[in-house]
Amino acid sequence: MNNIALDAPSMAASVASGQTSARALLESCISRIEATDARVNAFTDKTLSRAFAEADAVDIGRASGQALGPLAGVPYAVKNLFDIDGVVTLAGSTINRNHAAATADAFLVKQMKAAGAVLVGALNMDEYAYGFTTENTHYGPCHNPHDLSRIAGGSSGGSGAAVAAGQVPITLGSDTNGSIRVPASLCGVWGLKPTFGRLSRRGTYPFVYSIDHLGPIASSLEGLALAYDALQSPDPLDAGCHALDIQPVMPLAGTGMDGLRVGVLGGYFHDHASPAAREVVALAAKTLGAKEEVIWPDAALARSAAFIITASEGGSLHLNDLRTRADEFEPLSVDRFMAGALQPADWTIKAHRVRRMYRDKVNALFKDWDILLTAATPVSAPMIGTQWLHINGIQHPARAAMGLLTQPISFAGCPVVAAPMWPTQTDGLPIAVQVIAAPWREDLAFRAAKVLEGAGVAHIKTASLA
């Protein structure tokens, strides 16, 4: 069976019907990883003994008539900041290599296991999640499967690339300022950044307590929804998990756009989008019947506040290591961590106060709109090593600029489906459109994304890597 042609729902259905076995799916998946990962560099660790045990448990369960979970037999992998029982949680660093191996799975890994999914390994990322490019100096850059000379995005670069390369149909990542949506955009795969506080972060290595989100990346919208539903559960032991119940989005609503008010973000979001990014937003808007331009409140201010909180919390988290072993950090981010540690408290406190007011302004916007659209990245994937980007005549530091369009949205905690689209002016490289809904309304984002998928304008293209 060819994994490249199958998404997670198809795989689960094949296993459930007996058309294939979980073990056969896993073997096919491993073959694809072995054939491609020397070039893509998505994986930093493989958990094959565990994977075979989990796959065989699914097959034994099916043979004995047990009810199977919704992801039974589906291979997946996780960004290497998720705890995996028996594996050291690297979080993209070499410093963490000296840590003891995790003694339990992260909460979301347990959720995936309970759904029957089969964990294949851990994935490349920017060190401590502080980056948008996964040009990891310790473990090598993750390469974009659609053009190996280009970045996969970050910080969940391995999570985006593994799906785009057809290695696994589902991965898990984290998103503080865009780290699921940026790689989803640059690799042309589906991504979900849920509402802040929707999914438990327990058992993952933190970056910014105040803004960290976790979520899935997938090769189909239905696969994304299936994974999201499996991941949901209130978790009173995670201070950052605010979900009180499970609100499934499956089966994906087929009600189209009836009654949904859709707008396109202008101003800041238009100004920071390249012509190619504007092209995919225009196509999404046309498909969804959006005609009006909407101004998102205080976007630049929110990005500044998110930037400052990120630097401050990140710098504080790693202060002890910055004092004693700075030379072991990622060279691309160590100076930013230091700068963050030195920031005056006034900046961070003001940023949190701005955020509170910002939340109310953003929520007020959703009294008039159900769905808002903007690009996920200003441009398609730059070449690895790019230092500067020119966006509409203005020069930006390339690595930070990849988050220009995502940071203001996550700072408000809104759920976003990143829908993979394919502009005509990027030599075949993708740019995703962010389908944004009000906090706790992932269902609406999935509903609009379903229309984009149904119209054929949003879809993945698995890289052949022949």
Binding site: L301, A326, M338, V354
Partner: protein, 73 residues
């Protein structure tokens, strides 16, 4: 705040926090911090009334006395 001011700030606060920085590193850190200065200026310019509180972080854990414990108080 000019480059020299930021560089002096980096040296002083790094010493305060116990982060060793040589001149080369201090210059790189200062260049990052200089960009953040511009962002912080936006926050300074924001109209934040005195009652504008921080976004929530802390939340006391639920704590339930049983009746015997309550009666001891």
């Amino acid at each position: 705040m000019n480059e020299a001011d930021v560089l002096n700030y980096v040296h002083s606060t790094a010493t305060l926090l116990g982060i060793p920085v040589d001149d080369e590193r201090a210059r790189r850190v200062a260049s990052h911090l200089q960009r953040t200065v511009a962002m912080a200026a936006m926050l300074d310019a924001a109209n934040l009334p005195a009652h504008a509180e921080l976004a929530e972080i802390y939340c006391p854990a639920p704590f339930n006395f049983n009746n015997d414990e309550r009666n001891k108080l």
